[in-house]
Symmetry: C2
Subunit: 695 residues, 2 copies
């Protein structure tokens, strides 16, 4: 035995440096140290009795349970049907599909569900209770998802790159598939299942037609087979011009009979590979992608043609509303609304329209998209971005559940007070028959999955909110920190504080007071408020901030382009008055004079500067706070986060100096005390951004 | 203690699934099972006595030694100066720089060297002796590198992609640098040091100008600092147009005084960041890259200007000879020779010209580049490609030391018999004052570094040959298999057999008999012998195979374009006569009639078919052989390689069927018995390639 100990000892020693490289995410299952809790858990984990019935997913769930308990409690859970002190899986037809109950009944933990997926989610919840060291003696949990389809959208390309991906290359190794199944596919699936995600779109919405070829369908099938035991359904983004590209037809007109026949046949082929295939996601007539408008048809014509093709197989079509034309007099804010609102009620029943959370494009803060609440007869899906395209890539710590929650909780007033965005997309406002939510994934081949370890919390938090949008960011932070980082209470408190302040900090040093779209051309992590020329006017920065000698901001009130008029009157009232409104949205809707006194008591210019400077100070605070947790988190994780915080500080200084110096050329006012003026010149700041635009 | 054992036990259990993900490469340091060997080793590892002297590199070496012995022998090596039974590090000025001796003198293992790098390499060699379970009682090793600069060239781009990389994204995380030091940088450095690599070029030869900005130099410095303790020097690829791009000059003319001043200042800046910076690698006037010829200057003018800039700092300029113009009447085979041969003797002393192993571009088999032996007054570096651009990406098992060795051993006859390519580049033929060898890296962010686990052997083998080109591929295979895969003797034999046959197998099913450049446009792992139109004539396939109703092959004899005339007469004699020559090079130099009887007794057509079919059969054999080692290699590695072999089989069938069907349209002859004609049509084969060319 001593020899074995020695072997283990040195193996462990050797691995130590890489012991916590973040690969295990929040599913660590390390042995619990809290002995009193452990003995409580052991009282209920003497056996497992599966009365629910066998299925692949139930087997997965049981394996997961055994694995988790082996790790955390050091026990080997055996199947048995003893009477007391075990875990019993039961069928309960009264529980909503995918929902579950966890109860202590007569000294057993009963996990009951209607479906096998419910059992899977119940077991992951039970494991989470143990991971977070909650008491289970009086456990009584009843949970079911508020939204049916809880999706990840991967913007992964055929050659292994990821559009807006900052954590390595694609997880999907297309060249090796279908023959080689990377064990990581399973780890990916279990991580998703553990937070209730049940569907993934594998490829970029700027879709290659390759994916619909027989050769690639065989590869997609291999992934679908790998994910299925974890209850995850596979979707594909499709190229609307596929009939021309693959079928060699002369048109992709959705009303052309040959085109319709091509799609019908293609759908049949797809389902012959993957009988439970989810359906198609489509980006059409947007940013150069093909679509029905090329043929004078509407988005509904396009979507309905595809819907017809997948309908025999219970497939869905998810049609993105992210469309905008290059009209110099237009405003992206309004265009999706103008295109889609008139189509309400004309979509086939198996079509969902997927709308980004805000009207522009995943800015650090946006007002909710005006389509939410405006399409009572068309199921709308929410599209959030988990990858940090405009939130600092993977060098910035930003806890996104705060952003998600902010949008979800906003009231659309569509059918009166309380018609929150969350209630629109969960179907309760308009009684949508299908409900869906999508997050653009932040996963990649980096060992820790998300580049910034703290961004794992965004994947986790997205999943938790997709399941139940009523959970608070605080709860998400609590769970995630305990499962992933530390169980030390004072460190927990510090990290939680960092997470909860992080999003506002990022907004402050980049886009305070409702500024938006002033990031670097093509390099979206940096700043370029001076950008005045681009391939399209609405790709510049000046189009959005409209700074001039008088003031700054985009007048979207009725005196301006009245984009604000797209919202319900109650929403308009909230944002109509620059004096009384939430200043976080100010410059989204108003052009405000530099010397205008704001509700904070400061002038606009002084407030703007204060926020930029405070943002940087807050990053410095995060750095100091993180240093305090050193002894209670893994050494490798500590150093990694510390290094990234230092990079974030550098970037925050860049944003601050660049923006205040640039806007100062309009305001013509000094940096207000107590802040010191930047040590660098505007020209120097411009050069910093240029670096990132060199080939 | 029992509790600790339990903790270890379950930690190990949990990690088991990922225990051998290939991350540890050949530096596994697992506890040895062979107890008799172990007790021999323990007799000499009671202490370490560093009489050499302290230095960062010596510290690294000692740490590595302690780590390795802790893992393999389960002992904790302590510093001490006992008399007998330990390891003693000593200085010996008679040993060549970077060389070392390992001897048993008086019951101690003496590792001696002139320099600290020598100690580092000696210690890695000593560890390798233990890893491979060699006896050390009578150890007496004297080794020094035959080539001074043993480099990896990374074709890594600023945005994290790798040109011709098939193992994930770049290891260098530019956005996180310089603040965040990924622990993987150290693992990379130690892997290189363990095989004697002492220099790396960090970025793609299609170079972004970004790398020469102050911001990026700070990042490069961070990497240089991480690599330095392992004796690795950093180089950068530079964009020749940097004076225009970064300096805003109107020209990048190498004879312009302002341009020269710009480079002088830039070099000074680079060295202010990294005092031991290696120098610049340049791809100029090739495939669209800028260069001196734009200004009517020669490659020597360009190289010498840069050489002047780095000379005060002992820097080097490595100038690539991979140039070719889009002349439809030209031949890439001849162009580098024609451009560079006349410049021999005109380059500055700190310039090295880097030449690819063959005259076209890293084909599965090429004759050696005619510049080797033709530039007596210009140090030539060898450029091999370790990444498998034309050798099946990371789905094909190809043991490249066979290819490297084949080139190195070929005789140029430059100064008479025995003037092998190896002796040209190690300087012994022409007395080059600087000697260098470069391998285009196959590393990436994939957990196992190289995508295909077996491709680790190519990185390893490249390093070993760069150190000593006299080592045989058999020895490399022996070492690598023992260190990486298995110590079971029968499995060792099987894997070795697979490795040693793998390269010929790949040649057979892709480019038999000297065929070349018939791969897919842009997708180089597939076949496209029918490719007849491209942006340049020499990017097509028909330009190279020249198949017609009479025969196939490129007549490069004096009756053709006489590229063969670039070689020494003895070499010409070898390849002049299609009846007597090595058939592996046949179609490189001759257009041969379909019915021509070859030295094998078969007609050309029959031989061509036989090789394509045999190639596929050999893949099937590899698959069967691999299945036999299942119980003696790690389960995860076994499955991964098995899956990739299956993918390789699919690709081999594609190559075979596509090529024989296409060439059959010229030969008009049936597939010879006993081979069965392909089940697919040529049109079907064409479609398979088209898939990979869809957006």
């Amino acid at each position: 035995m001593l020899k074995i100990i020695t072997i283990f000892f040195f193996t462990i020693l050797f691995f130590k440096a890489n012991a916590d490289d973040g690969y295990r995410l929040w599913l660590k299952y390390d042995l619990l140290k809290n002995t009193s809790q452990k003995s409580e858990y052991k009282r209920f984990t003497n056996f497992i009795d599966n009365q629910f019935g066998e299925s692949t997913i139930v087997n997965t769930a049981q394996k997961e349970l055994k694995n988790g308990l082996a790790g955390m409690l050091g026990i080997a859970l055996q199947s048995s049907s003893k009477k007391v002190g075990g875990i019993v899986l039961k069928k309960d037809l009264t529980i909503p599909k995918e929902g579950y109950k966890i109860q202590n009944i007569g000294g057993n933990i009963i996990i009951s569900a209607q479906t096998d997926k419910g059992i899977l989610y119940g077991i992951f919840d039970f494991l989470r209770q143990i991971q977070t060291e909650s008491s289970i003696s009086t456990i009584n949990i009843s949970s079911s998802p508020k939204i049916q389809l809880r999706m990840l959208n991967h913007w992964d390309n055929v050659l292994g790159t990821i559009e807006r991906g900052y954590a390595g290359s694609s997880l999907w190794k297309w060249y090796e598939l279908p023959e080689n199944i990377d064990p990581r596919y399973l780890e990916y699936a279990r991580a998703n299942a553990s937070i209730g995600i049940n569907a993934v779109v594998l490829n970029n919405v700027n879709a290659s037609a390759r994916f619909l070829t027989k050769e690639y369908l065989a590869k997609v099938k291999a992934l679908a087979d790998a994910f299925r035991p974890y209850g995850i359904q596979v979707f594909l983004s499709v190229n609307f011009a596929s009939p021309k590209i693959l079928g060699k037809l002369k048109t992709s007109d959705p009303l052309d009979p040959q085109v319709r026949a091509w799609w019908n046949n293609k759908a049949q082929e797809v389902y012959s590979f993957i009988p439970d295939f989810g359906g198609f996601l489509v980006k059409a007539n947007s940013e150069g992608e093909p679509g029905p408008q090329e043929y004078g048809r509407t988005h509904a014509d396009g979507a309905n043609m595809l819907a017809e093709a997948v309908k025999p197989f219970n497939g869905l079509v998810i049609w993105r509303a992210f469309v905008y034309g290059p009209d110099p007099k237009g405003d992206r804010f309004k265009e999706a609304y103008n295109d889609f609102k008139p189509l309400d009620g004309t979509f086939a029943k198996n079509v969902i329209v997927q709308v980004k959370n805000g009207p522009i494009d995943f800015m650090p803060r946006e007002p909710f998209h005006p389509l939410f609440g405006a399409m009572p007869r068309t199921p709308l899906a929410m599209e959030f971005q988990i990858t940090q395209e405009y939130l600092g890539f993977s060098t910035n710590l930003v806890f996104l559940p705060l952003l998600f929650k902010e949008t979800l909780e906003t009231d659309t007033y569509a059918t009166g007070k309380g018609s929150t965005v969350a209630k629109v997309i969960d179907g309760s406002v308009h009684n949508y028959p299908i409900t869906a939510i999508a997050g653009v994934a932040n996963t990649g081949s980096d060992r820790n999955w998300t580049g910034h370890l703290m961004s794992q919390a965004n994947w986790y938090g997205y999943g938790r909110l997709a399941w139940n949008h009523e959970i608070s960011p605080e709860q998400i932070a609590d769970e995630w920190i305990k499962m992933t980082l530390t169980k030390d209470q004072s460190s927990h408190k510090i990290v939680k504080n960092i997470l909860l302040k992080s999003r506002e900090t990022y907004v402050n040093f980049t886009n305070p007071l409702g500024l938006h779209h002033i990031m670097g051309q093509s390099i979206h992590f940096g700043m370029e408020p001076w950008l005045e020329k681009s391939a399209r006017p609405d790709w510049t920065a000046i189009y959005y901030h409209r700074a001039d000698s008088l003031g700054i901001g985009f007048d979207r009130t009725s005196k301006g382009n009245n984009a604000l008029g797209l919202y319900a009157q109650e929403v308009q009232n909230q944002w109509n008055n620059p004096q009384k409104m939430d200043l976080n949205y100010l410059l989204w809707f108003h052009h405000v004079a530099w010397n205008q006194k704001l509700s904070t008591g400061k002038t606009l210019w002084d407030e703007l500067c204060a926020r930029y400077y405070t943002g940087v100070t807050e990053v410095e605070k995060m750095q100091n706070e993180w240093n305090q947790v050193k002894s209670n988190v893994d050494a490798e994780i500590f150093e990694d986060v510390k290094g990234r915080l230092a990079a974030q500080h550098r970037e925050a200084l860049n944003w601050r100096d660049a923006c205040v110096l640039y806007f100062q050329t309009y305001s013509k006012q000094p940096i207000p005390a107590p802040f010191k003026k930047p040590e660098r010149t505007l020209d120097e700041m411009k050069k910093i951004v240029e670096i990132y635009q060199l080939k």
